[in-house]
């Protein structure tokens, strides 16, 4: 069995290798191969899952050690896998959603001449992501961690000829690198503290460590959090996610909604032992989570670009997860649960958005949509289900997972509990608002795309979305997407409807994960019923307000100036501008001045020395004036000096 774990990673890796080095001759079959291998690893996952269910709870963890990666004295980095329930959950999500999106992409990327490479990258991503969740030590996890970063870089910038895409990709990678500092420092701390960074070595010892050097453990916690912030686009490292939408929509769905961005949640949950031992770190985590879930939600409200709106929502949803994870044993399970459900409905939503764009000449501005439900029914339905799920409509998966998190937040207890709970509720309200907004602006209202506005987002940039290739510009004529695209959407829709309920049947999910993450019911000051009721209320409120604003009266095709907050929110609450002014500009000035310094000062000293020798030489040279008598003078003078010196030596 455990050999299969290796294959799990190997399959997509193989695919990536073949597709990226294969050359043009693979162009025709490439996408199929990629999809096939993704499917393979999903099947393997399913097999392993079945096997795991077969075993009894205690002995479900599989491990497999391949080889020693870096052996240097104390520093022994192994390539070994550990498949427990937590990993299993992720594996299923990744391979499952991954496969679906491969299939979706077949249709979506049909007209792109670099489709082969696209699938190569997707496979590469799957491999890296699986590596991340299967690693049995932090060092290997780090490899996967950076691997997904690379994949995301490549995929965001897939349309490299679009400067915006290239820039977005670069930005994503850089911001993630900042996070990676956290992870690498964490690993170093682990190594210097425990002499190892393998889960199995570290976690048992955390307890005694926190007794002796509590600060260090807390430090590790903080560093891991930093890493999580980078990967999961949490404040203050969230700025890249919005731009990441430059990538093809399947990518946004898979990487920047369903899987990669949730790696942070995985990291924190996986490191539960450490965080449990470092309350301060946990506080930081929940704070980040709470802030982000509000932040993301607000941003989501203001965006007119459908993908960016969804990106904001992703941010906010992950904020929920992070917060939950920060709550400790109370929340881990629900964090993951929400992660999975979110994986379904958010992926679904993105694919829906993609389908919409597909039918609208890649228009992304919702103000140019409207009344599409007649034209693309399947998309409408699936999208709608995803919508209901995310706002937490009773009975759908979002309802269960999010509700649990809010409860857990309250259950944290004390003022902290109240604050977090309130935040969560507000978040829920706003979620309801902006998702309704998206829904209304896209599928309802009058058809604002009719008046023949050209469809390209911005004329100067040659849009390379494949649809544009074949459809003439001008007034779009919406149409339903091909089945290769709709089928995945449907499947995901199913997921987003039933997953939550399935998990909650006699809290199967809790039981499933408990052996790994541990679980404890906090003492909630408010009963579950109250919480649910509250959630319902805010939900209705949100929807209502949205309807009042966007449903009842017509939506202006050109964005109104909007309030100060709106404008700020459109610009990601000015966070980007801050980065730009402080980091980018500042950096430019710094480098420029350093370049100057290097030339004038550091190099100047050297050249200066040379020059001064030359000058001295020139001056001394003049003494050689060609007159015998002056030579004689120097001789006489020299003699005098020598004589005097000799006498002096005797004198002293």
């Amino acid at each position: 069995m455990d050999t299969l774990i290796g294959l799990l990673v190997a399959a997509p890796l193989l695919g990536a290798g073949i597709l990226l080095t294969g050359g043009r001759r693979l162009d025709r079959a490439g996408h199929l191969l990629g999809t096939l291998l993704a499917l393979t690893s999903f099947v393997l996952a399913a097999v392993l899952f079945a096997d795991m269910l077969g075993k009894d709870t205690g002995r479900r963890t599989l491990t497999s050690h391949l080889f020693t990666w870096v052996p240097v004295d104390g520093f022994q980095a192994q390539v070994g896998f550990q498949l427990d329930q937590l990993s299993m959950t992720f594996v299923l999500l990744i391979t499952g959603v991954g496969t679906l999106i491969h299939i979706y992409s077949i249709g979506y990327m049909e007209h792109d001449e670099r489709r082969r490479r696209f699938f190569g990258y997707l496979n590469l991503f799957l491999a890296a992501m699986l590596l991340l969740v299967l690693a049995d030590n932090y060092f290997l996890l780090y490899a996967g961690w950076e691997g997904v970063g690379l994949a995301s870089y490549l995929l965001i910038g897939f349309w490299q000829h679009k400067p915006s895409a290239a820039t977005a990709a670069k930005k994503a990678f850089l911001v993630n690198r900042v996070g990676d500092i956290g992870l690498s420092v964490a690993i170093m701390l682990l190594f210097t503290t425990f002499g190892s960074f393998a889960f199995s070595d570290v976690f048992p010892k955390v307890g005694q460590a926190s007794a002796t050097q509590h600060a260090t453990v807390t430090g590790i916690g903080f560093m891991l959090l930093l890493a999580a912030c980078g990967k999961s686009a949490q404040v203050p490292l969230q700025s890249w996610l919005g731009d990441a939408m430059e990538g093809p929509t399947p990518v946004s769905a898979l990487i920047h909604a369903a899987t990669m961005v949730t790696a942070g949640v995985y990291l924190i949950t996986r490191s539960g032992a450490i965080f449990n031992a470092a309350p301060d770190a946990q506080t930081a985590v929940v704070t980040v989570g709470a802030v982000t879930l509000i932040f993301g939600a607000i941003v989501g409200c203001a965006k007119d670009d459908i993908k960016k709106a969804l990106a904001g929502s992703t941010m906010s949803q992950i904020g929920y997860m992070i917060m939950a994870a920060g709550l400790g044993p109370i929340g881990y399970v629900f964090a993951i649960m929400h992660l999975v459900t979110h994986g379904f409905f958010k992926a679904g939503l993105f694919l829906g958005a993609g389908s919409v764009m597909h039918g609208m000449n890649d228009e992304v501005d919702m103000r140019k949509f409207g009344g599409l439900r007649k034209y693309m029914p399947i998309t409408f339905v699936t999208f709608g289900l995803g919508y209901l799920a995310i706002i937490g409509f009773p009975g759908l998966s979002g309802f269960f997972s999010k509700d649990k998190i809010i409860e857990a937040a309250f259950a944290k207890g004390g003022t902290e509990g109240w604050i977090l709970g309130t935040c969560a509720l507000i978040g829920a309200a706003i979620t309801a608002f902006y998702m309704t907004r998206v829904m209304l602006m896209t599928f309802f209202g009058e058809e604002r795309w009719k008046d023949g506005r050209t469809a390209t987002a911005s004329p100067d940039e040659p849009s390379a979305e494949p649809a544009a290739a074949h459809s003439a510009h001008g007034a779009p004529h919406p149409h339903e997407s091909p089945s290769s695209m709709t089928i995945p959407m449907i499947i995901l829709a199913f997921g987003s409807v039933f997953a939550g309920g399935l998990f909650s049947i006699n809290s199967a999910f809790v039981k499933w994960l408990e052996p790994v993450t541990g679980h404890s019911e906090g003492d909630s000051p408010v009963s579950t019923g109250t919480v649910t009721a509250g959630t319902m209320v805010v939900l209705v409120l949100g929807v209502l307000v949205a309807w009042l604003m966007y449903g009842r009266r017509p939506v202006p095709a050109v964005a109104p100036k909007g309030s100060l907050l709106t404008r700020a929110a459109r610009r990601d609450l000015l966070q980007d501008d801050f980065n730009h002014v402080v980091l980018v500009r500042g950096g430019e000035h710094l480098t420029r001045s350093l370049v100057y310094l290097d030339h004038s000062l550091v190099d100047g000293v050297v050249n200066g020395t040379a020059a001064s020798v030359g000058g001295l030489s020139g001056r001394l040279r003049r003494l050689q004036n060609g007159y015998v008598r002056s030579y004689a003078v120097s001789m006489l003078g020299g003699t005098a000096v020598v004589v005097a010196a000799t006498l002096l030596m005797r004198a002293v």
């Binding site: 990226l20 080889f67 020693t68 990666w69 870096v70 052996p71 240097v72 004295d73 104390g74 520093f75 060092f139 780090y142 490899a143 950076e146 691997g147 690379l150 870089y153 910038g157 490299q160 000829h161 679009k162 400067p163 895409a165 290239a166 820039t167 670069k170 990678f173 850089l174 690198r177 900042v178 990676d180 500092i181 690498s184 420092v185 690993i187 170093m188 190594f191 210097t192 503290t193 425990f194 002499g195 190892s196 010892k205 005694q208 460590a209 002796t212 050097q213 260090t216 040659p462 950096g587 710094l590 480098t591 420029r592 350093l594 370049v595 290097d598 550091v602 190099d603 050297v606 040379a610």
Partner: protein
């Protein structure tokens, strides 16, 4: 008397140089093939040495000992420890690729050929082989003076390679190029010569010291170490420090360490890409290697005394080099500054005085050699195609030459030490090694990885992505020969990135020896320490 494989390894390229130089002017391709053949032969020998190196065996193996000049205490002592054997292998490995990459670099443009006996191609390859021979010898030398001799002598062929076969693509035009080239060459030579001469003074002082205490002065590493072990030789603290500084200065110039780095951008910028690789990937390694081999072994106390300053300088190099790389307009200069940053890492690892640090540093030397070679050579192909080194002149290359762009990206990712590619392992080892003894420096150095990402990605974005710039449309993709150069390097990067064990296994024991020389042991994990 066993087979003197070390001597042979060095002799083959030396002979090759003579043979190549003797090839008639007209027979250029013959000259190329001859040179390539000799370099491959060297590679084979180096690999054999590496294979036969017994990791469990004596510290120095395949040793040869002959007295060369008695009066100078100069011995022809050769021997390799794990570090040495790896470095020799690296050198021997890179040279063939350098040659292949520079296959036509030295062909005389027509009509500038006043003399029939003027044969640049022969000269070019002969000089490369000569450099190889001297570098190999300086990796093998276990006699301080012997090392010094080759350390200095290698400057001359290097100098002619830089000054004589410079980059023809210069923004300032042909004669500006010539001017810059000879400036760079002279700067390179004088800088290193100055370093070397300071070292000469130190070498002489060392001789005087040994002569005073042992009766006869000697430079044999073995004799000196034995004498010290036996307590017959004990340098006065101040003397030891001065001599150490003399040595270190020379190595720091060669390495190069901030603020002695300014010759490198000129040299690498003005020379052809293969020569630039020769400089940064092969010749400069002698400096860092020598720190490990001589500074630490001969002057343990002084080394420890100087460590804080050196570490700080190393960290400055890392950050400073990276920042300047970000600010460059010229592709090759950018890579040069990136190298400065990487050498900072290497020196950091060496003087962190931990097994991770030093193994990492050694590994880093290898990986940096390969990765820079990959990146620089591809950059060279790119530059020669476009006829310009300015980043601004490129854009959208991936559209017209996807393979070239791809390889370039891989090289870049290696440079920013992405996991899965070789440099990551070494860089992380260095960082961990540093962190475990100097946490603050470790963390500051870690910032380097962000900056690395910055300059690599910016370079890639500006040159490869975006709409196709004017002047780029026509560029052809990599030719077979060029792929032959790049593909193996990339393969190697991947292999060492996933499975560096073969190298680390050889290196680790030697690092252990070096550490025991300076009486240092790795810090215990905090938990054990507490118990």
């Amino acid at each position: 008397m066993s087979f003197p494989i070390l001597t042979v390894t060095a002799a083959v390229p030396a002979v090759g140089a003579v043979v190549t130089a003797a090839v008639p002017a007209a027979r250029r391709s013959a000259a190329r093939l001859t040179a390539l053949a000799f370099s491959v032969a060297t590679l084979v020998l180096a690999l054999v040495t590496m294979a036969r190196f017994d990791t469990g065996g004596a510290r120095y193996q395949f040793t040869e000992t002959h007295t060369w000049v008695k009066n100078f205490g100069l011995h022809y002592d050769l021997g390799v420890d794990g570090i040495g054997v790896v470095m020799v292998a690296l050198t021997a490995l890179l040279i063939p690729f350098v040659m292949l990459a520079g296959w036509h670099d030295a062909d005389p443009l027509e009509d500038v050929n006043p003399n029939r006996r003027w044969r640049p191609t022969q000269g070019f390859f002969a000089l490369i082989l000569l450099v190889e021979a001297m570098v190999v010898l300086s990796f093998e030398a276990t006699d301080v003076f012997l090392f010094y001799i080759f350390f200095e002598a290698m400057l001359i062929p290097m100098y002619f390679l830089i000054g004589g076969f410079g980059d023809r693509a210069h923004p300032g035009g042909e004669e500006e190029a010539a001017r810059q080239r000879s400036y760079a060459a002279v700067k390179f030579l004088l800088y290193n010569l100055a370093g070397g001469l300071i070292m000469l003074a130190a070498v002489i002082a060392l001789y005087a010291a040994t002569a005073k205490q042992l009766g006869t002065g000697t430079f044999s590493l073995q004799e000196i170490l034995d004498a010290r072990a036996a307590g017959r030789l004990h340098l006065v603290t101040s003397t030891e420090r001065w001599i150490f500084l003399g040595f270190f200065f020379a190595f720091a110039v060669k390495a190069p360490l901030w603020p002695l780095h300014t010759w490198l951008p000129n040299a690498m910028g003005e020379s052809t890409a293969p020569v630039a690789v020769l400089i940064t990937a092969v010749v400069d390694k002698v400096g860092t290697f020598a720190m490990l081999r001589f500074c630490l072994q001969l002057f343990p106390e002084a080394s420890k005394w100087a460590t804080p300053v050196i570490l700080v300088l190393a960290v400055i190099s890392i950050i400073y080099g990276a920042l300047l790389a970000v600010g460059q307009r010229d592709i090759k200069r950018l890579i040069a500054y990136a190298s400065v940053s990487h050498f900072g890492f290497i020196i950091l690892g060496i003087f962190a005085m931990t097994s991770q640090g030093q193994s990492g540093a050694t590994l880093y030397m290898v990986n940096h050699g390969i990765s820079t070679a990959a990146l620089m050579l591809v950059a060279g192909f790119l530059i020669s195609r476009r006829g310009s080194r300015l980043i601004a002149d490129f854009g959208g290359v991936q559209k017209v030459a996807p393979v070239l762009a791809g390889t370039f990206l891989v090289g870049g990712l290696a440079t920013l030490s992405l996991p899965g590619l070789a440099p990551f392992v070494s860089e992380f080892l260095v960082l961990v090694g540093t962190f475990s003894r100097y946490p603050v420096l470790g963390i500051i150095a870690t910032l380097g990885i962000v900056l690395a990402a910055l300059y690599v990605l910016v370079l890639y974005q500006r040159t490869m992505t975006g709409p196709v710039k004017a002047g780029v449309e026509g560029l052809s993709d990599l030719k077979a020969r060029e792929l032959l150069v790049v593909a193996p390097l990339i393969a190697l990067l991947l292999f060492l990135g996933v499975y560096p064990k073969p190298v680390t296994d050889i290196v680790n024991p030697s690092v252990g020896h070096t550490l025991s020389d300076v009486h240092k042991t790795d810090p215990k994990p905090a938990l054990e320490a507490k118990k």
